[in-house]
Symmetry: C2
């Protein structure tokens, strides 16, 4: 059974925002076994949105729209769905009451334009939206369904998980399920990883294996199709075992697990605290670590340039291992890192940033500190991400062995 | 003249990565006046990629593909373009030499699978790629062009700007140009902003006006179509002036200008330094500020929980204004902020996080400190972003007046 996503918003076609919603929806459709073959983006133009919906309804059973449900004049999704489905828009008083209640709870005043949001296509199933003011709805046409969700990610995500997926599971019986397993690695480039797992990458295999490069990280995706989840997982298991055997501790995590999750879990298991000096990464290491629930109480960071850090900590620059140890003492923590990105060599666009990462551990086993040099290419934002990723990987390795 | 983007990669349809490339390309196509009406995403399946390309070539003059040019078995773009264009793939020795040179410069060894990357459709124009190993190419079919770029953002961006846009400008004469101006505001919700500028939002107007909500921020987009850029800008100017008049200092920036750019510029103009305590935002404020070129030397941050900060700084908790002043003294800076996100009230999914932002200024005019309370709803990651945005906005206002 096929699904199609129609993302609506001129800002998407003008490139002013990135469509993060589509990825979220795609992930959830894959999990219930809906095949997503097309994802289409159109602007805030009534005729074009209606045309895209007409095409989508022809080639997919389930069409999910995002965006264009807001209160302003350029929000055309309600009218476009009504046109594509050949129905008028009707006023639903209950939807207006819900919007009013949402505004009251937050002490806001209802805007007249919010009233527009209470109109939905005749016969549509309204979806109550406790997390926002955009009422959503499902239009059923024969065996098809057009599901309109808001563009605001947090509202869309809540509604998809709590309203749409239960609806889809109930209305349609999915005969197949797609299960995907991600193995995440740090330390080898994509072409090297591709060679190591290349014998699994033939098209048409089940499971299929693919690679994806991120900054400083390569993911290996193992995807199986089967009638049920248990069978799909059983297909994945031996492939995963063999790939893990080949890549060893280069694989740091699975599925949604990121390096920061692994480092935060390691800090918890050892009951350690961590202090990071970010001279170049600007807070990125701390920001990633502190998104992990519960990790904030184990993580501290100093964001400043290396010279300023040397003055603050009373340590001569030179060795980042010594700097990491000084940071560790300052932060009264068992583990510390000091990441220093140096001035770039080479011309813009092809600049290489010499980067040094120091790691220090202390406590019962005595103090140990080590230093790792890197040369990262790219623009500065990307170099920061690579440096933050490698810092997290060095911290992961120190937590694995218990020592810098 | 129409363009279409075809994003290739199963990871996009499985939702494992977000398509940031499409937004970048969309922005640049809009700037040269190409109308982008469709953006389509397909997986790593040769038949479906070829079919999507055939459709795209029918309805658009310029088709840009991203992804699927890597060295691994699931990279099918080269073959799909060859099929859609009805041409064989041919080996281009110069491309292999380029890849070899790239690897040598970095001390890497060439993988046999990289050889596959030296094949492109017969008659295609190769695009040299000094920033990566994926050779790219343009296939001209009658008056159409299919342009295949890599999926790695930094490579794609370099090639689009330095190879593709000059090619497009030379080959096609664009009769129209779209110019977009973004006014960025902080402090009002989207429906309020929509009402304030609603009289400009009628469809078919030139320029058109639209709004976009982000976390803590609402952008107002003014888009004009004209034969040349000067005419488009002249259409935009009076609308911009009137909207600025209505929204006053709620508008903090234009176009690519973010709050961090405005704060960094303000620090430079006053020759001030800034220290931020991030108890909850986890480094996000510093991370955003230090992405601004040259700002790192004026910005320091302490990332730790409020209690730990109180102990470090020797200040009793209670007033975040006092905490901000202590941070300012610790950091020896003219300006400081202390952002503390408290424990949430209410159930998960609808939790409200009480958040306090303290701002302190010092120097010739004497010390001043102020405290601003907020209540942010949403999940914790979103609350952090809102808190970081409001911290930056408070810093912007302190820099405008010269005092907390």
């Amino acid at each position: 059974m096929r699904a199609e996503i129609v993302s609506i918003g001129s800002e998407l076609l003008l490139g002013q925002i990135v469509d993060t919603n589509a990825a979220f929806i795609a992930r959830h459709l894959a999990a219930v076994g809906l095949d997503l073959f097309h994802k289409v983006t159109v602007g805030d133009n009534l005729a074009r949105v209606a045309a895209a919906l007409t095409t989508a309804i022809e080639r997919a059973h389930v069409v999910i729209t995002t965006g264009g449900l807001g209160p302003t004049a350029d929000d055309v999704t309600r009218e476009a769905v009504a046109q594509a489905a050949g129905r008028p828009l009707v006023f639903v008083p209950e939807l207006l009451q819900e919007i009013e209640a949402f505004f009251r709870a937050r002490g806001f005043t209802l805007s007249p334009s919010n009233r527009k949001q209470s109109y939905i296509p005749e016969g549509a199933i309204p979806l109550s939206n406790p997390v926002g003011t955009a009422p959503c709805f499902i239009v059923e046409q024969d065996d098809r369904a057009v599901i309109s969700l808001p563009g605001v990610p947090r509202e869309m995500e809540f509604l998809l998980v709590n309203r749409v997926l239960p609806y889809l599971r109930e209305r349609y019986r999915f005969r197949g399920i797609i299960v995907s397993r991600l193995l995440r690695s740090c330390g080898l480039g994509e072409s090297r990883v591709g060679e190591v797992v290349g014998d699994y990458m033939a098209t048409g295999a089940n499971p299929t294996v693919g690679t994806m490069a991120h900054l400083g990280q390569v993911d290996i995706r193992i995807t199986a199709k089967a009638d049920d989840e248990a069978t799909a997982r059983a297909l994945i298991a031996p492939v995963e075992a063999e790939i893990r055997h080949r890549l060893g501790d280069l694989i740091f995590g699975v599925d949604a697990e990121m390096l920061e999750d692994v480092v935060a879990a390691g800090l918890g298991q050892r009951d350690w605290t961590l202090t990071v000096l970010e001279a170049g990464t600007g807070g990125l290491v701390a920001e990633r670590l502190t998104t992990v629930p519960g990790a904030a109480r184990r993580v501290q960071a100093l964001v400043m340039e290396a010279e300023a850090a040397g003055r603050h900590l009373g340590v001569a620059l030179g060795s980042v291992a010594a700097l990491a140890e000084a940071v560790r003492v300052w932060g009264k923590s068992r583990l510390a890192a000091a990441t220093v990105i140096g001035a770039p060599d080479g011309e813009a666009g092809q600049a290489i940033y010499p980067t040094r990462i120091g790691v220090a551990t202390g406590g019962e086993g005595g103090e140990r500190a080590a230093e790792y040099p890197y040369r990262f290419g790219g623009d500065f934002r990307q170099v920061r991400v690579r440096a933050a990723v490698m810092t997290l990987d060095r911290l992961r390795r120190a937590l694995m062995t218990g020592s810098a």
